[in-house]
């Protein structure tokens, strides 16, 4: 009895600790392109995720992707496939992986990696055209990735 109680405490302490210590881009573990573990330890917020999806300075997903669910965001691009039913096709872990480092799932894709900080050719300082120094800040924070995953999980047909 007592033993189990202590173990339980230890586990919740551990997960609380992990919620603080998010997974840094260089420590992310990919399994066939998917990321099982939450990057931030805090559940994603679909409303925030929609902002990430729509905002040019954040995910700017709408530059390449359209979907019925996101049709109130004007001028979606056609470079990427429409995302209708994305949540039916992909698990949460796969979606997280596609956003963090799309090239692990789609070899050679034009889709950028949103949670990566190094390994670039002539990395810049955001959109200034000036040189940046690796590690760069990832394009999206751990929480923003979780938020946009939460939003994508609503893309069901």
């Amino acid at each position: 009895m007592k033993r189990q109680f202590i173990l339980g405490m230890a586990i919740s302490a551990l997960s609380a600790g992990m919620a603080m210590a998010q997974v840094a881009p260089e420590n992310v573990e990919y399994t066939d392109g998917a990321i099982e573990q939450s990057l931030s330890g805090t559940p994603g917020d679909a409303v925030e995720g929609k902002k990430v999806f729509a905002t040019a300075a954040l995910g700017n997903c709408v530059a390449c992707h359209a979907a019925e669910i996101s049709k109130d965001i004007p001028f979606p691009g056609t470079v990427g496939p429409a995302l209708d039913g994305a949540a039916d096709r992909w698990t949460e872990a796969q979606l997280r992986g596609i956003i963090a480092k799309s090239k692990m799932t789609f070899e050679g894709t034009i889709m950028p990696s949103f949670y990566q900080t190094a390994g670039y050719i002539r990395p810049g300082d955001a959109y200034t055209g000036k040189a940046g120094t690796e590690p760069l800040p990832p394009i999206l924070s751990a929480q923003q990735v979780e938020d946009v995953v939460a939003y994508l999980l609503t893309f069901k047909e």
Binding site: P76, P81, A82, R89, E107, I110, P112, Q116, I121
Partner: protein, 286 residues
């Protein structure tokens, strides 16, 4: 491997999805570009050296909206023509220690007809890549005793407009052999390199995705035959290398400078991808 197949299938259904949501038709227009009763060649078979990378060539003009296309069809509506006139003033202006203008050696600007269609090219003697800007600055510094012009400044873009206009309608024919060959190869390498935090090459947008929309921008083949272009967004004239600066910056990369070896090589390579399209001699883009 498996994933790839899945996505191709998905992409196909995605396109159907588009038909339903009624997104704008993504093909470039079929219209002809006619200025002053003369048709300007804006479609051509792809040159052999592209090895099928593009099925055929289409000028950026055909990807722009109706109003923008119309502006270029009438020299009185084309805001770029103002820069051609201003260029003529610079052409005739005496400058530098030798007391000369361009006109002192070259007479009228018509003497420059054809140059835009075959540049950039490598000068056999010096080994330098010569585009129009390089010729202008070479004359200024070695023959006029004048200062080199800022490559992206107003006076230089005026000269670029004036000189390009003299070749309007002539077909781009940039050599890829002889002294140009190594520069062509260097430019090609840059064209296919995925720069910046977005890891995108010129080819990702202008070869793989022309005809698609990136947000509200209808991607063209990124041809340079229209340059310099008057960009409505900037309310100003843009040289090919200024455009390259913008495109590379948009990949979250450290750009190259206008006039750098890299952009000179890229300009030669991109120009050769348009061999067969006509020089538009100041075009309008949004």
């Amino acid at each position: 491997m498996k994933q790839r197949k899945i996505t191709t299938a998905l992409a196909a259904t995605a396109m159907l999805g588009f038909a339903f949501t009624g997104a704008a038709f993504a093909e470039p227009v079929d219209d002809a570009l006619v200025i002053d009763g003369t048709e300007i060649t804006i479609r051509a078979p792809a040159p052999a050296h592209l090895n099928g990378a593009l099925p055929d060539l289409v000028s950026g003009w055909a990807f722009r909206d109706t109003e923008t296309r119309a502006m270029q069809m009438d020299d009185f509506d084309n805001p770029g023509m103002i820069f051609v006139d201003r260029g003529l003033d610079t052409w005739n202006a005496v400058d530098g220690t030798e007391g000369k203008s361009c006109a002192s050696c070259h007479e009228g600007p018509e003497s420059m007809a054809g140059l835009r269609a075959v540049t950039p090219r490598v000068d056999e003697k010096t080994g330098k890549v010569m585009n129009i800007e390089a010729y202008v600055n070479d004359c200024r510094t070695t023959r006029m005793g004048a200062e080199a012009l800022n490559l992206r400044g107003a006076q230089m873009t005026d000269m670029l407009a004036l000189i390009s206009h003299q070749s309007r309608g002539q077909l781009m024919n940039v050599a890829i052999d002889g002294a140009n060959a190594p520069i062509y190869e260097q430019g090609k390498e840059i064209y296919y390199t995925r720069y910046g935090q977005l890891e995108m090459s010129c080819a990702n947008c202008h070869e793989d995705n022309y005809g698609n929309y990136i947000r509200s921008d209808h991607l063209s083949q990124g041809q340079t035959n229209g340059f310099p272009v008057y960009r409505l967004k900037d309310a100003g004239l843009v040289s090919p290398q200024s455009r390259f600066v913008g495109c590379v910056r948009d990949t979250r990369a450290e750009t190259f400078k206008a006039g750098s070896d890299e952009f000179n090589a890229l300009e030669l390579y991109v120009a050769s991808r348009g061999n067969g399209l006509a020089v538009e001699g100041v075009s309008v883009r949004h």
